[in-house]
């Protein structure tokens, strides 16, 4: 087989994978939209997913958010004070942390914790015939396993991103007060002067899309496991890589659309 044949073959496999994922996504969305009438969403799975992905990651996210807020102020102060533009620190905090880093970093934490665990869990369920068991009860694995997880991760990521924003602002204020003793109220007034509703909403809108795709990719890769336990880690690696790529691509798309609309 020559080189061009190999490229062609890879391309076909790639397109097939995209089509397969597209079909999976369409099924999940269709089932999700018909949930209200069918009430198939499993509250227990949903709540557990939000608890695991959201609440249990809260401290990790908090520490990172506090640190990032502080670091931005620290670095920003060093650079901006050299030309008397320390006022721009608020702009920096809004543009860098709230608009970009909050959703991206939270998404990366969720990929590392929950994306991997969802993929491993579903992969192992597939190997141990638990998916078949659900089907034998007439329970759709998409309804029972995927939708609740996707919805759970979306809710958790959305929530974590809000906490990230709030805590990074606190971190920012805490470190600002090292350089200039500034009351929290004044700090917030300056910050809100630079912060628009759009900035805040764009960060949570991103988190919803990130959550959706991270969970969807992780579930999809988990369910792609066929029989062998050795497939599980391989699929998990793929889930992580594809989730990170998806997050970056979606981030660029949403940011582009945001600036296009404005």
């Amino acid at each position: 087989m020559n080189y061009i044949d190999r490229i062609g073959e890879r391309l076909i496999v790639f397109i097939e994978n995209i089509k397969s994922f597209g079909r999976f996504m369409a099924t999940v969305v269709r089932r999700f939209l018909s949930l209200y009438s069918e009430k198939k969403i499993n509250a227990d799975v949903l709540v557990r997913q939000v608890y695991f992905t959201g609440f249990e990651a809260f401290w990790l996210v908090s520490i990172i958010a506090f640190g990032i807020g502080a670091l931005i102020i620290l670095q920003g102060n060093i650079i901006l004070s050299t030309f008397g533009q320390t006022k721009l620190m608020y702009v920096l905090l809004v543009t860098v942390v709230i608009r970009e880093l909050s959703s991206i970093l939270t998404a990366l934490i969720v990929i590392a914790r929950s994306g991997t665990s969802i993929c491993t869990e579903l992969g192992n369920m597939k190997v141990s015939h638990e998916i078949d068991l659900l089907q034998s009860y007439g329970i759709s694995p998409i309804n029972y396993l995927v939708i609740s997880r996707v919805f759970g991760v979306v809710v958790a990521l959305f929530t974590l991103t809000i906490y990230f924003n709030i805590i990074s602002i606190l971190g920012g204020w805490f470190f600002t007060s090292f350089f200039y003793p500034i009351p929290f109220k004044d700090f917030m007034m300056h910050l809100i002067g630079e912060l628009s509703v759009g900035d805040l909403l764009i960060s949570v809108i991103k988190s919803v899309f990130f959550g959706f795709f991270i969970a969807l990719i992780s579930c999809y890769q988990g369910l792609q496991v066929v029989v062998a336990r050795t497939e599980v880690p391989q699929r998990t690696i793929r889930a992580v890589v594809q989730s990170i790529l998806a997050v970056i691509v979606i981030d660029i798309l949403i940011t582009y659309i945001y600036y296009l609309v404005l």
Binding site: D132, L133, Q135, Y137
Partner: protein, 242 residues
């Protein structure tokens, strides 16, 4: 009751099942036998609607078993027990029983349900101390008997069991055979797989011998054991036993 129409199943390049046609009558017990990797379990899974065939359709009362939207209705009537005891690993045994009961019997009386669950667990010799345990912390044989208990709690019309006696200890085996016999007597349809002589002799009305993806033989068990076909008699001699 159940009809297999031109069923084929291929996995990657390998043909597992090749154009199988068969009709399962109600109130009868069928046992699918065959050598290692002959496709017994695959045929049972396809018949039970767990995996779609590559070609052909399975009809349950003249309706395609894979029809979307009929899952709950069909699986309410077909009970399925896996070869190895399978339970959802992140739910306790009690939750594992509750999941299909809640889903498939949503309108039944809670108290009656509880009584039936308790009764079924004792019939299959499942100790109530296992109820709040996770599947990974209980023996495989108990997992399988819990599977049986769940299947019977749901009161199916057709019961499909993949190798009923696999992984079971003697007391549990006896309990399973006793319950399957009762089910048969009460007019239930059963489709079993495996090469257990006792199952074939005591329970089966019709034996299906699967070889190289095709049904090679299908008749009464008496004739199965006395067949003159050299290949079949060799299989009976070598593979059938307890």
């Amino acid at each position: 009751m159940l009809t297999l129409k031109n069923i084929s199943f291929r996995h990657k390049e390998q043909t597992v099942l090749d154009s199988i046609n068969y009709h399962f009558e109600p109130n009868k017990t069928y046992t699918i036998t065959g050598g290692l990797s002959s496709g017994k379990s695959t045929l049972l899974k396809i018949t039970g609607g767990l995996i779609p065939p590559t070609e052909g359709i399975v009809c349950f009362r003249e309706r395609d078993i894979q029809t979307k939207g009929l899952e709950r209705e069909i699986h309410r009537k077909i009970g399925y027990v896996f070869q190895e005891g399978v339970l959802i690993s992140n739910l306790s045994v009690e939750e594992n029983i509750g999941l299909p009961v809640k889903y498939l019997l949503p309108n039944s009386n809670r108290d009656e349900q509880r009584i039936r669950v308790k009764e079924m667990l004792s019939r299959f010799r499942v100790d109530s101390s296992y109820l709040d345990k996770r599947p990974c912390s209980i023996p495989a044989s108990i997992r399988k008997t819990v599977n049986f208990a769940i299947a019977f709690i749901l009161q199916p019309e057709v019961l499909m069991v993949d190798d009923p006696l696999f992984n079971l200890n003697k007391p549990e085996r006896e309990a399973v055979i006793r319950e399957l016999t009762n089910f048969k007597r009460s007019g239930g349809t059963m489709i079993l797989t495996g090469n257990s002589e006792r199952i074939i002799k005591d329970l089966t009305d019709e034996v299906i011998y699967l070889n190289e993806g095709k049904i090679q033989y299908s008749d009464k068990p008496e004739l199965f054991f006395t067949s003159t076909d050299s290949e079949l008699s060799q299989f009976v001699t070598e593979e059938i036993g307890d």
